[in-house]
Symmetry: C2
Subunit: 121 residues, 2 copies
DNA sequence: TTGAAATTTAAGAATAGTTCCTACTCTTGA
DNA sequence: TCAAGAGTAGGAACTATTCTTAAATTTCAA
């Protein structure tokens, strides 16, 4: 846990804005003006891999980063791109009434090992 | 519906491979050697917008395109990136037993209009 | 404490997917 | 037939992210 990595993690844990890599870089730069973009990206990957930080993939715009709380998913405004949280329980409600007034669409991707790859392990 | 657009649509409807824009371009080029990458992307957007084609956003790799069948979602192999279909019913099963053996993770994004944007409309 | 090896970093070049721009071509309909 | 509008080809431009390289920092055995 280098100083740079600590700063990056702290920024994410202190934020409720689901910041982008760019926003994190800007904030980190205030605390350590010498930090580089590459460092932010590399450390974000490491933090995601270790499970300390959660990555939110946003189609057609920069990924965002979040602290791993109790299970929750994300609502993205189609107009301004703002990301909101949805608790897992609400989520089930939302899925149930998918006809729902405000849900314009959704994108669900699950990850697994396909039979071929599984057999190779 | 231009000739180019027809070719692109036909390729997607004839494929079971969830082709990428690049793969579509390669196949389109066989039927019409003069076609340009930009044309493929532009027509894919138009087809998606009109609902004739469905776009699958794949984090960290090129988007894929699919025909809009009965509701189904996608399973992506974490190792080789292959995309498989999951029917909506299976899907509920999968979500139910989320502890499940093979599901490594998932990414759910829903789209809506946030209160602020909704009030502006 | 020293200093060599290993790790991490800064800086910016490179990459890849996608979009944008411009001039040209095709289609449409009067 | 021909002018206006729509669509296209080709490639430059853009943007988020990754890679590369040399320099800085950390680690840890001696």
């Amino acid at each position: 846990m280098t100083r740079q990595r600590k700063i990056i993690k702290d920024i994410i844990y202190a934020s409720y804005e689901h910041p982008t890599a760019d926003a994190i870089f800007a904030l980190a730069k205030k605390k350590m003006p010498s930090i580089a973009v590459g460092t932010v990206y590399r450390n974000l990957s490491l933090l995601v891999e270790s499970g300390e930080v959660r990555k939110i993939d946003v189609p057609n715009s920069p990924s965002r980063y979040d602290r791993p709380q109790i299970p929750h998913e994300h609502l993205i405004c189609k107009n301004c791109g703002k990301v909101a949280d949805v608790g897992a329980i609400e989520l089930i409600e939302v899925l149930k009434e998918k006809t729902g007034e405000d849900i314009i669409g959704y994108n669900l991707t699950m990850y697994y090992l396909c039979p071929k790859c599984k057999s190779l392990k």
